[in-house]
């Protein structure tokens, strides 16, 4: 009985039928495998997109914060340096309207007015210069950076500048980003790094321009910087994105820092 059952169940027809079902099952498994792989790939892509989005939002926020900071600074400058002086001018002018002032007082008031107006003028020129250096606007990036380096050089700090590039004057807006990045870097080196020697250079590499920035300041931990980026760093990063370039930071504590960025 057992033998006949065994024979019956292993007839070629049964083998083929079970083979067909096995094949069908295998194809289903294969399809499921593809389906789940696709799902996984999509999930990974979504994750990546979300991270990108988050990063962009952070940058936008940083840009807005920088803008607000800048506005605050300008407001303060206007208030402290111009409004206060114009106030003195206004009071003194009112004093002049008084008919019973002796001649020597009039002369004193007049000289105060002239002095204060001169100071206000100087301040307004300085504020305008800080906002957009006229040299950069009129003579291009090379002259702008040269002036920036000269201005930042003093007894404590020396800023060296070399350039092997002839910049295209048409790229003014892009050059402003480069200028701001350098301004921020120099600012950081002097304020936080206590650097005494700073070097800025522009070189040509393939089809991009490479800017190398080095200082001999305190330096910082690059890994820590990645986790805790300040407003200035975020500002630099968003400008690099506008420039469609790349930036690398290389630094160790007490060994200065080296920043290389490229743009077109």
């Amino acid at each position: 009985m057992d033998t006949s059952l065994l024979q019956e169940s292993t007839s070629p027809g049964t083998i083929i039928i079970s083979g067909i079902f096995l094949m069908f099952f295998m194809s289903m498994v294969l399809l499921l495998f593809f389906y789940f792989s696709k799902k996984k790939v999509i999930e990974k892509e979504l994750e990546k997109k979300n991270l990108e989005l988050q990063y962009q939002q952070e940058l936008i926020q940083a840009t807005m914060e920088v803008q607000e900071e800048e506005r605050k600074r300008i407001a303060q400058d206007l208030h402290d340096e111009i409004s206060s002086k114009l106030n003195i001018v206004s009071i003194n002018t009112h004093l002049l309207t008084n008919p019973d002032i002796p001649e020597n007082e009039i002369n004193l008031i007049r000289s105060t007015i002239i002095e204060q107006i001169g100071k206000a003028l100087e301040s307004s020129r300085r504020i305008a210069h800080d906002l957009l250096p006229p040299v950069l606007d009129k003579f291009g990036l090379d002259a702008g950076v040269k002036e920036l380096c000269l201005e930042c050089s003093n007894k404590l700090t020396k800023v060296k500048y070399t350039n092997a590039i002839l910049f295209n004057y048409e790229d003014k807006t892009r050059h402003l980003h480069v200028f701001r990045i350098l301004q921020e870097l120099i600012n950081n080196s002097i304020r936080h790094g206590n650097a005494s020697d700073i070097a800025v250079s522009f070189d040509k590499a393939d089809d991009a321009i490479v800017c190398t920035y080095t200082d001999n300041g305190k330096g910082f931990d690059v890994n820590e910087m990645k986790n805790k980026r300040g407003l200035g760093m975020k500002n630099i990063e968003s400008r690099i994105i506008f420039l469609e370039g790349n930036i690398t930071f290389d630094s160790e504590i007490n060994k200065g820092c080296k920043v290389i960025f490229t743009f077109n």
Binding site: G13, I17, M23, F24, L30, V41
Partner: protein, 216 residues
């Protein structure tokens, strides 16, 4: 009417519907679509001729030779154009391996002309395996991209893998007792219906009331 006849009839009706539907978008779609339409038209004609043979009680084994050749030719062309813009390398591999297999089959038939009246098991096994490999490569491409013809390829994979055993052993199947023989052909008919339904689903999903797809 036996169950097998009913199943074949359903398969034929869906095939007829598919051929008609795919004809609608014939002019505004790419070369892959066009070759797939010709493939559908060919199997439709072959099915009709087969049914006619069955009705007249004539031996239809020689038709399997045409099925073997044209099934492979049309689907190779289909895959060739499908991969043309995605992976040019695969496309050229399909071209050369297709030509090699076809010439091999021709040699086989020249050496053994008697094969024309029989089921060519080896031929079916080789051509089916190759088509399965093409489908798997296409599915691999699908993992990271969104492309058309997904359901068709899925249907092809399931149908070809499952029925490859039937076609490879068709000569011996005939020698089994009638019940098993009929059961196997019924399974094949059900698989064919499933395949045709997936082709129909593809048309509904990708080509129904939609702008013409890009050249593929």
């Amino acid at each position: 009417m036996s169950i097998l006849q009913i199943l074949s009839c359903i398969g034929l009706i869906i095939l007829l519907l598919n051929t008609g539907l795919y004809f609608i978008g014939f002019t505004r779609n790419g070369k892959a679509y066009k070759s797939f339409f010709f493939y559908l038209l060919f199997i439709l004609l072959l099915q009709i001729i087969m049914q006619a043979h069955a009705l007249l009680n004539k031996n239809n084994h020689y038709l399997s030779t045409y099925y073997l050749f044209f099934n492979f030719i049309f689907l190779s062309i289909f895959f060739y154009y499908l991969f043309y813009n995605i992976r040019a390398k695969v496309s050229s591999v399909i071209k050369y391996s297709g030509l090699a297999i076809l010439s091999g089959l021709c040699v086989q038939y020249i050496l053994n002309p008697q094969l024309y009246y029989n089921f060519n098991s080896v031929g079916f096994l080789i051509t089916y395996s190759l088509l399965i490999v093409y489908s798997v490569i296409y599915l691999l491409e699908l993992v990271s991209k969104k492309m058309t013809f997904t359901y068709i390829i899925v249907g092809m994979l399931v149908y070809f893998i499952s029925s490859s055993l039937i076609f490879a052993t068709a000569t011996s199947i005939v020698s089994f007792d009638n019940e098993v023989n009929m059961l196997i052909w019924k399974i094949n008919a059900v698989l064919f219906i499933l395949y045709q339904l997936l082709i129909l689903l593809e048309w509904i999903q990708a080509f129904y009331k939609k702008a013409p797809v890009r050249e593929q």
